[in-house]
């Protein structure tokens, strides 16, 4: 069977691949940043579940530093 990118099955598959890769990258970045802070594995695990990190301080994009 020759599937194209228009096929729903392929789109769903690409969706999960992109999001899966994104999550892996995010977790890797989070781990690297926290290791820089000298946190233990337990601390990192605790912070990974820190609900406060679901919130980013909102700012006007126009005020974002270049």
């Amino acid at each position: 069977m020759n599937l194209t990118a228009n096929d729903d099955r392929v789109v769903r598959n690409e969706e999960s691949e992109n999001l899966k890769l994104h999550r892996q990258m995010y977790e890797r970045r989070l781990r690297l940043l926290r290791e820089l802070d000298g946190l233990s594995e337990r601390d990192i695990a605790d912070q990974a579940n820190d609900p406060s990190l679901l919130h980013v301080e909102e700012t006007d994009p126009a005020e974002t530093e270049k």
């Binding site: 194209t4 990118a5 789109v11 769903r12 691949e17 994104h22 990190l53």
Partner: protein
């Protein structure tokens, strides 16, 4: 009386996939998405992630992508990282077009210099590249410093001396003043002698990177390539009245960059992709927080969609984008 909360439809990755498919179908090229929302900056950490994203396409430096579109939306970041990312992208692709739906400022502008062409959406733009980074210590992100500020202060000191001496001559006094040196001493005291020296040296860093990228890619092989590169570097380093200036298609073209304004259909499709990305970031499906001050960017690879039926985008898509998705023509 109880009221039921009205369910708010959550944006999904499939809507983004559909928008990207419409853009790749229209452009006839695969797409690499580099999306940096507010509070997200170009960093050297991104190199591994962008490399992995490119490898997920199946391409390698030995088996390059013949023609690649890079969708870039960013307020800037580290110029060293931008240069390195640009070189990684070029390692994987023979020909590159940077698609800028709204803004690719500062370090992102520098990255665009690695393109064979930059395509700007309607009212999209770039910015000057007169930047360096300073650290405020601790875990605070490094901030960019506008090197033009140092240059401007020196010009201000010279102008102040000239104007004062002209006024002194008019009133018949000896036309000599040391106001320029006094001002420069004050600046060095304010910023610190070593820091001023550092800024002075680093003001050419982005110019050096820009020269390498423009000579290697954008202007490679052009008979007037060297002169165009000199003009572009001079203009983007020293030609703007402020770092925050928005350089639209007209200014970029006048400053001799290889830039095109997207036709309406292409601009709408690119802006539709950006709208989907912003929705997903707002819903925290992508670009989650790394700290209370910073968030993660999004990198994605989208293969070129076939010429079959276009896919419908989100309910919230702009009317024209829906028309495009349905196969309509640009007015």
């Amino acid at each position: 009386m109880s009221t039921r909360p009205i369910p708010i439809p959550q944006p999904s990755m499939s809507q983004l996939e559909a928008s990207c498919a419409n853009l790749t179908r229209h452009r006839q090229s695969p797409l690499l998405v580099l999306f940096y929302p507010a509070k997200s900056r170009i960093e050297e950490w991104d190199l591994t992630d962008v490399y992995d994203t490119l490898r997920s396409s199946g391409a390698t430096p030995e088996n390059k992508i013949p023609k690649l579109d890079v969708f870039l939306d960013s307020y800037g970041g580290n110029p060293v990282a931008a240069y390195r990312l640009a070189q990684v992208i070029r390692d994987f692709s023979e020909e590159v077009c940077f698609l800028v739906p709204e803004h690719a400022y500062s370090a992102a502008t520098l990255m665009c210099f690695a393109g064979n062409e930059i395509r700007l959406g309607h009212f999209a733009g770039l910015s000057p590249i007169d930047i360096t980074l300073v650290s405020e210590g601790g875990r605070a992100p490094r901030k960019e410093v506008e090197l033009a500020t140092v240059d401007s202060f020196m010009e201000f000191a010279q102008d102040a001396r000239r104007m004062i001496e002209e006024e002194l001559v008019k009133i018949g006094c000896d036309g000599v003043t040391n106001v320029d040196s006094d001002l420069l001493v004050a600046m060095v005291k304010e910023v610190g002698a070593m820091q001023v020296g550092k800024y002075y040296r680093e003001r050419m860093l982005t110019g050096h990177y820009a020269t390498t990228l423009l000579d290697s890619y954008m202007f490679a092989g052009l008979t007037d390539g060297v002169q165009r590169r000199k003009d572009v570097v001079e203009n983007f380093l020293f030609g703007a009245p402020a770092h925050n200036i928005h350089l639209d298609y007209h200014i970029c073209s006048e400053w001799r960059l290889q830039v095109e304004e997207m036709p309406t259909m292409e601009s709408d499709l690119a802006r539709d992709v950006l709208a989907r990305l912003n929705e997903l970031a707002s819903a925290k499906t992508i670009c989650q927080a790394l700290s209370h001050k910073t968030r993660f960017p999004y990198f994605g690879w989208y293969a070129q969609a076939s010429q079959a039926e276009p896919q419908s985008t989100a309910q919230a898509a702009p009317p024209f984008a829906q028309q495009v998705a349905a196969g309509g023509q640009a007015p």
